[in-house]
Amino acid sequence: MKRLNLPKEKSFIGPALLWKRIAAFFIDIAIINLIVLFPFRSLFQNIIPKDYSFSEAYKLLSSSTDYTGFISSVSFIMSVLVVLYFFMLERKMGQTIGKMIMKVYVVSDNNSLKPWQMLVRNIIFIPMFPFVLLWIIDPLFMFFTKTNQRLTEILSRTRVVEKYSFEQ
């Protein structure tokens, strides 16, 4: 009896596992914190003494409009850099460093990833109203959708996937 010439390995892509997505996110945040936001760390250390509690730091920063204006400006610039990190890497390679380590990818429902899709899926990092509302709503969607998509991923028509393969 003649056997069919089937490929030895079969593979397909599907929604990335949640734990892999979360791990990839924390790896990216760690890298961003270490390298991209490094200059800002010294800036904040100069403003808030190391031995300050959260309430003491809050009291200090809200003591003057100078501080609040300063903190708002710095936070905005930091968030732009974070968006740029995700934008530049995902647009060019479909992966950030965290996603590469966890072997997950960003794909578009259309053919290729467009700039607007990158912006929409990462708008959550801008610390301004109404985007701050997404900080809770956006990740919650991941747990309640079949495709494990965040709200901004649904809006941007993108998904995070991984490659599943098995031998026949």
Partner: protein, 312 residues
């Protein structure tokens, strides 16, 4: 079935992105420090050093760019900022001022008295008149041996030149609604009645000044009244009559704070920093205002000619 992404991860590009964003971060920090008037380097430390330099004035835009003036709104803001900062345990007022506006001096003195922190006045070269008023409101006053202090009194002298106008056939056309509306005008001679009224008000301010100094320094008002003749005292004389607590300088001030608060003092200067935008807008604002008036005259003629200022 969906297509497996074909892009290969390129470490070279990832490193380029990280480096680029890091450089952008450094540039952003530099630009923020330059453009926003917050001196981020000076926000650590446990003792705030607030300078009181030059003439004490009541408005922020009184000095021309680099003139040394102390604007009471700025100084009050700095005192309140230091007071609210839980890391600051004491406030030093570094005084080098001949005084200035009575209102501005009182505003600063009130702010000093209201703080919950230990306050020390450090009189360097001059701490006279309104500046001494501020110094007296601190918990402790230290002055250099040869510094000029005291000068408790009020002055409102001005030039009067109706004779000069007459010589050049210029007439002062008096149009007032209200008998004393042009009191203090340099274009007319002050009447005896006006002079008496003016003197009465100056005496009232002086009396208030004396009361405040007596209250602040815990002295008998009559004793302060005797020395409140406008005369200045050297630091060593001021110590003898009780206007200051100690003769000395920075070391003595720091030693007092360290002993009182039980801390190792780390001084941090609280100064109103001007951002680039502030300086540019100030220059542009002044230039616009002076167009037509003559930029040259604007630099020297700072006060409206027909106004009297009461200074301490």
């Amino acid at each position: 079935m969906e297509k497996i992404p074909q892009q290969n991860f390129r470490w070279g590009y990832a490193i380029f992105v990280l480096l680029l964003l890091s450089i952008l971060g450094f540039m952003a920090v530099g630009i923020i420090s330059l453009f926003i008037g917050v001196d981020v380097e000076s926000l650590s430390g446990n003792v705030a050093l607030i300078p009181i330099e030059g003439v004490i004035v009541g408005t922020r835009d009184s000095g021309f760019l680099f003139d040394s003036v102390t604007a009471s709104p700025d100084t009050v803001e700095l005192i309140e900022k230091a007071d609210k900062n839980p890391g600051i345990k004491a406030i030093i007022l570094e005084i080098n001022s001949p005084g200035g506006s009575a209102v501005a001096s009182e505003e600063i003195a009130n702010a000093v008295r209201k703080t919950n922190k230990t306050t020390v006045a450090w009189i360097r070269e001059v701490g006279a008149s309104g500046a001494y008023w501020i110094a007296s409101s601190a918990d402790y006053a230290v002055a250099n041996r040869a510094s000029i202090t005291g000068s408790i009194g009020v002055i409102a002298s001005y030039l009067e030149f109706p004779g000069l106008l007459e010589r050049y056939n210029v007439t002062y056309q008096r149009l007032v609604s209200g008998k004393y509306k042009d009191i203090g005008s340099p274009f007319k001679e002050m009447t005896a009645e006006e002079k008496a009224l003016f003197q009465q008000n100056l005496d009232l301010i002086r009396d208030f000044f004396v009361s405040e100094v007596a209250k602040n320094r815990n002295l008998n008002k009559k004793d302060v009244d005797k020395i409140a003749n406008g005369l200045f005292y050297l630091g060593m004389q001021a110590k003898e009559i009780g206007l200051v607590d100690e003769i000395g300088g920075k070391e003595e001030v720091v030693a007092y704070i360290e002993k009182k608060e039980g801390i190792k003092a780390e001084l941090v200067e609280y100064k109103k920093e001007k951002g680039l935008f502030d300086i540019l807008s100030e220059v542009m604002g002044k230039q616009s205002f002076f167009v037509g008036k003559g930029i040259g005259s604007s630099l020297f003629d700072k006060k409206p000619s027909a106004s009297i200022s009461i200074t301490t």
